[in-house]
Every structure is written in structure tokens, then in C-alpha cells.
Symmetry: C2
Subunit: 517 residues, 2 copies
């Protein structure tokens, strides 16, 4: 095992690219995951929690959506045993590779098809950057063993339900759907062969597959650079504003036009888009097969009342390289937000996925069809914050102050009474000597209420209740006139503690303001 070098005093720092999450950051994400899990569960998906650590062998070597295979995992070698070298282990980089391993390992015990959801952190050993961390959450649902596009349609419906469940109203999002087969059909046209000749012309296919990745990469820039930019990338190359030059794929103008007309084939309705695609593809068989799958998905979704205000066929959706084999989908938030530099921009994609049919093959040799999505919970949370739909800090606790160190038992009794009534409350546990520090503490905690009981109050059987939110408003306000009827601090008999604190919480719309919570 590793022996670190000895240092007199360690640095208190997260490793580079990692961070800590505090308070509301944690609870809001947990609540979002819980809501999404509820939707997944309602759709018949079962929870799976695989181990964070996998053998490098089982994990495999490719990251979907990332064009650098065989990179980016945290790995280490187990201690050797006897004459056998230790296995290489690694932290999972996503939740799909472990699903493949789990399905291959447990398939005899799993229902077929197997609908499963999983949520948890994944780790990538990549260069960290601003807002880009080496540990982050994924929240996936996949159906394994269902070849029909009914499985894809179901995933799209579920994705829409998830977004609404976490607070994105209808109209603020759209699920864009495409099909890799359509894209392949266009490439068949570009390279001038159809499905039959493809089988025969292996070397030509090999060549085109390499170029296919380059073409996909260019297409993926459609949202960013538009038709003109993609046209340059598909042909001779593109120089950006800073003067950097990106080499082109080297298609001729006719070929590039074909790809562009595909990208621009989105019509005013799903029916129009499908008709455009059919016209474009002519006799390209596997492309037409893809269009009919899209048609079928739309049909199934309409049966469940998911119409084109939510589900849109969009030929420009690519979703990474190589990985997907059929329908692909992407959830996009359609509202504008202000970015960190104050610029208005579209929030963009928060989830995506598609059909990938080679999942289990590397373990068992069997082809097992699979389709699924991954929801970017951190991006979704950011979106809700950007729209002001989420409070930035948690409700602080009621703070019972300590006026007399020897009467801690009295204060504990009060705080126990509040907690038993479902009210978040604490007794001040720092050094009670300086009362001002106790109020500063309450302020730092975002406390709505402070409770005060000195010897005099104790003798008279009363307590002081201080409405800290009202107090802050009074302090801010220029005149005291408007608040004169509502003093921010008042005295009540001991036995009214819970009732009066609850009144204040209710007035401010805070949790604990309802009885029996």
C-alpha cells in the first residue's frame, strides 16, 4: 500500500478538481434525485446501486460522449496475492458501463426486459476546469433487452415527466428526438452506397466510418456555428474569430449540401419533418428504416398525450460519437438565462440518451438491445436557480439562546419541545458569555426566531420571542412607522412557546409553520 511522504502539518484542501457541497446544495440535489426516482419507479424501473469500484477489465475502455477512448479513469492496482499480480481497479466513470457488467453478471435473476434506474456520483480523471469537476452526479434510467422503439418512446415520455416533476413547467422544455439510422442513411447517400453494397465494400465502409466520426463532429457544431460554419467544417475547414483553424472533413460541395439539407430538414411540425426526411433520403434503405422508427415513436407518444409541444423530431441532434445505434434524444430547456457575464443565452441541454445495442456483447458475446437516458441533475439545479425557482439557502433553525449557563437544562427542555413539534431548533452551544455573539450566530444560521429566557423571565414564567426576519426588515426600513403595530420582540407565557413560534414561521411562509409536520 502507498506510503505518503511525511509532512509536519497537512494542507486542508480537497484534491484538485474536487469540491465540497454544503447545506441546501446537498438537500436540494437529494430532493431532486428523490423526485426523479419517484417518476422512474412509477414507470416500472427498479433501483440498482452498483459499487463505485469496478475492475478496469469489467469497466471497459470507452466513455460515451467523449472522443478520447481509454482515458480518464482513476485506477489503481490491488496488492499482489501469492504469485498472482493484483487486479487493476477503477472508479466508475458513468453508470452505463456498470449496468453492462451487472446485467451480464446477474441476467438469470433479472426480469427481461430489465428496466433499471441508478443515481450516484461518477468520477473522471480529467483536467479540471472552471465549473468542471472530477466527481459529479449522474441519474440514469435504461431498459435492457427491449428491441422495440416502444422502449425509446417510453423513455422520452418519462424524461418529460421527470422535468415537470422537478419544477420545469410544460413550455419551458422540449425533448428533441433523432435517429442515428437516419444519419447513417444520409452518409450512405454522401458516400454513394446503400445497405447492400455496404456489406460488400468493407474497406470503403472502414474508410467512411472514420470519416463518419469527423462528419458527426462537424454536425454537432450546428447549434453553435449554423449552416455556414458546418459547411466550412465539412469541406475545406473553418477559421474562428481568434484565427484558429479547424481542418475540414474534405467533402465536396454536393456531399456537404446533402448533409446540410439533412440538418435543415426540421419542418414546422413533426409530420413535416418526417416528410422532408423521406424526400431527402429517397431510396437509402437504412435511412428510411430510421425515419419510420421516428414516425412510430411520435405515434406512440401521441397515444400517451405527449404531443409536439414537448416532443420534437430534430435532425440536428447528434449526441456524441460511435456509441448510439438508433433513436437518440436530448432534453433542452427553452428559456433564456443570464450567464455569469450577464449575457442572455439559451440554457440548453440538461439530459440525453439513446439506443445502444452492444452493451453486454463484450462480456457474453450476445447482442442485447438497450436504450436509456442520463439526467444532468447539477445542470438542472443550476437551471432552476438561474430562473429563481429555488431558494439559495436553507431555512435556518430557531435558536434558543443561553442567558444563564447554569440553566442549560431549561434551554434543552425548550428546544426539545420545539423539535417534538416538528420545528427545526437548536440551543446555542458556543460560549454564552457574550449575548451579542449569540445573535450574530443566529444571523449567520439564517434563523427566523430567537428565544430568550433570562432569570427575570424565568421568575415570571415567561419567555421572550424575537422575530429575526421582521427585525431585519425593521432595521432596513427608513421609518419605523409601518412596523409599529408588530414589535419584533415580545413576551409570552412559557406554555405558548411552540404556538407563537409557529405563528411567526407561518407568517414568513417557512416550514414548521403547520401543525403536525
Amino acid at each position: 500500500m502507498a506510503k505518503p511522504k511525511k509532512t509536519p502539518r497537512p494542507k486542508a484542501e480537497t484534491p484538485k478538481g474536487f469540491r465540497d457541497y454544503f447545506g441546501a446544495e446537498v438537500t436540494q440535489r437529494a430532493e431532486m434525485l428523490r423526485r426523479i426516482a419517484g417518476v422512474y419507479h412509477r414507470y416500472g424501473f427498479d433501483a440498482l446501486e452498483s459499487s463505485a469500484v469496478e475492475t478496469v477489465e469489467a469497466l471497459g475502455k470507452f466513455l460515451p460522449d467523449v472522443d478520447r477512448p481509454n482515458e480518464g479513469v482513476f485506477a489503481w492496482q490491488e496488492d499482489a496475492e501469492a504469485d498472482k499480480p493484483g487486479d487493476w481497479l477503477a472508479l466508475r466513470y458513468d453508470l452505463t458501463a456498470p449496468l453492462a457488467r451487472v446485467y451480464a453478471q446477474h441476467q438469470n435473476d433479472l426480469p427481461k426486459p430489465y428496466r433499471r434506474y441508478a443515481m450516484g456520483p461518477v468520477w473522471r480523471n480529467e483536467k479540471p476546469g472552471p465549473g468542471r469537476f472530477r466527481q459529479f452526479y449522474q441519474c440514469d434510467a435504461d431498459t435492457v433487452g427491449a428491441p422495440s422503439v416502444a422502449a425509446d418512446a417510453e423513455i422520452c415520455a418519462m424524461l418529460a415527466d421527470c422535468l415537470e416533476e422537478v419544477g420545469i413547467p410544460r413550455g419551458d422544455y422540449v425533448i428533441r428526438v433523432n435517429n442515428r439510422k437516419v444519419l447513417n442513411g444520409v452518409l450512405d447517400l454522401v458516400f454513394g452506397f446503400d445497405a447492400v453494397s455496404e456489406d460488400k465494400m468493407l474497406s470503403a465502409v472502414y474508410d467512411s466510418e472514420t470519416r463518419k466520426d469527423e462528419i458527426l463532429r462537424a454536425i454537432d457544431k450546428f447549434d453553435k456555428f449554423g449552416s455556414e460554419g458546418v459547411a466550412l467544417l465539412l469541406t475545406g475547414g473553418r477559421k474562428d474569430e481568434s484565427g484558429d483553424f479547424t481542418k475540414g472533413v474534405g467533402l465536396d460541395t454536393h456531399q456537404a449540401d446533402l448533409v446540410l439539407s439533412f440538418l435543415e430538414s426540421r419542418g414546422a411540425s413533426n409530420a413535416a419533418t418526417i416528410s422532408n426526411l423521406k424526400n431527402l433520403l429517397g431510396g437509402a434503405i437504412r435511412g428510411l428504416d430510421g425515419v419510420s422508427e421516428l414516425e412510430h415513436i411520435v405515434h406512440l407518444l401521441e397515444a400517451g398525450e405527449y404531443f409536439e409541444d414537448r416532443i420534437v423530431i430534430d435532425p440536428s441532434v447528434v449526441r456524441g460519437l460511435g456509441y448510439y445505434t438508433g433513436p437518440v434524444y436530448e432534453a433542452e430547456l427553452t428559456f433564456d438565462i443570464q450567464d455569469e457575464k450577464g449575457r442572455t443565452r439559451n440554457f440548453g441541454s440538461v439530459a440525453g440518451g439513446g439506443r445502444y445495442d452492444d452493451l453486454v456483447k463484450r462480456f457474453t458475446g450476445q447482442e442485447v438491445p438497450a436504450t436509456g437516458i442520463s439526467i444532468g441533475v447539477d445542470r438542472l439545479l443550476a437551471a432552476l436557480h438561474a430562473k429563481g425557482r429555488m431558494q439559495t439557502r436553507e431555512d435556518g433553525p430557531v435558536v434558543v439562546t443561553v442567558m444563564d449557563r447554569d440553566r442549560m437544562a431549561d434551554y434543552q427542555a425548550m428546544v426539545a419541545e420545539l423539535r417534538q413539534a416538528g420545528i427545526r431548533a437548536e440551543v446555542y452551544l458556543g460560549n454564552p458569555r457574550n449575548f451579542g455573539n449569540q445573535l450574530k450566530y443566529a444571523d449567520r444560521r439564517g434563523s427566523p426566531v430567537a428565544v430568550i429566557e433570562g432569570g427575570d423571565e424565568k421568575a415570571r414564567g415567561v419567555i421572550q420571542i424575537k422575530d429575526l426576519i421582521l427585525g431585519a426588515k425593521i432595521a432596513e426600513s427608513a421609518t419605523l412607522e409601518e412596523w409599529k403595530d408588530r414589535p419584533s420582540q415580545f413576551e409570552v407565557p412559557c406554555d405558548q412557546l411552540v404556538a407563537r413560534v409557529r405563528d411567526i414561521l407561518k407568517q414568513h411562509g417557512l416550514a414548521g409553520g403547520e401543525a403536525g409536520q
Copy 2:
């Protein structure tokens, strides 16, 4: 970065000592964590989620409750950068070491005292054994920066509330409280020096500290071996039934008797125990200080109505070595269960903790007092299962069967209707040719209801609803008499789908049986 060796087909296996969790195992744990988090939150504790990966330097070298320091972590070295060797990183082995790092790193931004809770997996690179895994959950709450035993009392009350919140009723658990200072007082008596001479006799102290660990280890066996066994371990040594010999600490009989009378000083009430301890300790100053802390804790807890049916002073509680400096506590379930071999035994400890005051010192040089608990959620779940208080599998979904592949849209519409009514439902997505396979699938999923609509039903505007739970009961039952009034399959008009399915769920007491869920 590590390059694994190439193999033609990878093995689909978790690494040794790791496992996967399915369905109810995941959701029940998530629900338990959510409830515990709710209690922690009500007590004013704030959530913290630190990264799973820490620098080995920050993580430090000791595991509480484990007597092998500097072992047992999964660690690896980062890639070198320029001429600087890469940092050693490791997976956290508990949630306390990261808390120390977080507190030292962020202390200017944190309230003081800082109450925080954390829950999540931790990893230990230990030899796996039966039921012993290298990844498991911890669920901690700690108060940092509060020197008063009021903080300890609060933690004990919170622990009791947590147990009741997750389904352990009052009477089925007890929180046993002890104090390391009392133990140290007894050792002062054993070694014949008090706090004053201790300062002067450094070498004697050093020697006694080494033996102290050995004595603690012997005391820790009190529950298992009783007075007689511990007496042997404290003196000459003990031979177990298999003939294995454990070397003794080497105390003389008088010394061993002192330790034993301490262990046996638990009285019929907390007051009696405290009185026994005072008598035993005589003039051992730091021991008496510990007793008065215990007395204060009991007093504070009684103020919050936590009496000795729940909180018991028990001098035999040790809780690991070296780590703790003051009060220690342990939650024990008091009911009997049958173990895997059918033997009746006490379920034992499910949570524990205590005060440890050197947490942040290694980072900052400052002494910062801290106290906290860790709840063993997996053991708690096992306890609830052992008592039959938790169902072993999840409610399966309603399965809408596929009689006619071309009418998938109709089935999707039905399933969408059920889901929108809050009922867990799925359409069968396997090959629909063999209807028997669809019912087998429903059985495997634990489905309560199957919905069937063939061409004939479609034409007549009806659907068949099959109550699978009732069906299974009828199949089990010797006579059909008792069921004759309740057919397990019946026909209803299409528009009664949701209402009739809900009726069945309600009859069987399943989720989804209530409107508006």
C-alpha cells in the same frame, strides 16, 4: 495512467469484497437515510457532502475503532506534472476525517459551533469476509466547536429520535453512555498516580498509555466473555474453547479487580451507577470529573424527557481505542433475533460515537472540541428485516400486456393513464408472441395486476383486469369455494381502468390504492 492487460472477453464480476444492491435494498436504505436526515435537520444540523476522494495527506493515518493505523485505504498516485511528482489520493474510509479537513479548510465560512450531518459510502481496503464489504454506508452527525457536554447530551437525544423515526419503538433500544475520563480515572488508580503526578511521570505515562490500549481491548470483551473472561485477559491470559491462547495484560489481581469493579458498577438506576462510580473512584480527580459530566448529561436529557428507559449510564461501553476523549455512547437494540444458524441472540449495537477533541489540530494546530455519532444504516435495516418490520421486496408494477403487437399505441395510452393516476405501471416490452411469457414476466416482477385487451375486447370497448395476488391465493387454496364470489379476472369498460385497478391495489393494501398519490 494504468493500462490493464488485454483479455479477449472480460469477466462480469464485481471486484472482491464489493456487491450490487437491487430494488428494495436501494429504496429502503434511501428512505432510511432520508428519515434520519430529517431528524438531523430538525436538530439544526446542516448537510455536508464532501468529495469521496481526498489527498492521503489530508485523510490522515488513523481509523477510529480499528487498531491498525495507517492501513486499509484505497490509494493511488496522480500523474506527475512537470517536475513535481503527483499527489497520493485515496477514497475516504469514514466521514469524520473529511469533516476535519472541511472544517480546517472552510472554518471562516462556517457557523461556530458547526453542526453538520453527512451520509454516503466509505471504502476500506480490508480483507473481505462473509457479510463484510469494502464499500458501505455511514450516516454521521457531529458538532464541532462546542466544548460543553450539552452537545453530547443533544447527540444522545437525537440518536434516540432517529431510531424511533426509522421504526424502532421505545423499549426496543437503549442508548448506553459512558465517559473515557471515568475509565482514565480507573486507570489512574490501577497505575497508582493521579492527574498531578501524571504530568511529572512522562515515561510512566507513556508506558501506561501503551498498556491502556491493551486494557481497553480486554474491557471491550466484557459483553462477550463476562467478568471471568476479562479477569483472565487482564492478568495472565485466556485460552478459548478451541485452545487458542490470548496473552494477558499482566496486571496483578488487585489491579484487575479495580477494573472489574468498574465494569460491574452499573446499578439499577442511573443515580445508583453514578453513586457506585463515585465510591469506586475515591479521589481520582479526572475520573470524578468524568462522572460529573455523566451526571450532567443525564440531567440535561431528563429535561428533554429522555429518561432512563432510553438513556443508560453503562461503564462497560468502550467504543474503540485511543480516539475518544470524553463521553462515549452506543445505541443497542434490546430485542432478540434469530441469527443465520437459528440461534437466538441479542441484536446489539447499531450506532455509536463520542467526543474527540483533536480533530482539527493536525491541520491548524488549534484544539477544536468535537462530538458526534455514526449510525450503521445497513445494520439497522438488517434489524428491521430480522424483526419482520420491512417487506423484502418492492411492490411490482401493474403490467399492461400486449395481445396485438400492432396496437402498441393503445397499450401505451393505457399505461400512461395509469401512471398519470400515480399508479406504478408498465407495458410489456419483450417479444409479445407468447402470452404465457408475459404472465411469467408479471409474476417475476411481483405485479399485483395484469391488464389485457385483445382485438375482441377492443371491439367491445372493454378490457380484462386480472388480480394476480388473488389469482395466486386461489391457486394455492385447496377449495375454490371461498373465492367464488371474487373472480380473479373480470371485464370492465375501458374508462374504468384506473378506478378498478385502484380498487384492487386498495384491497391488497398497496401503494397507488389512494387517489391523488
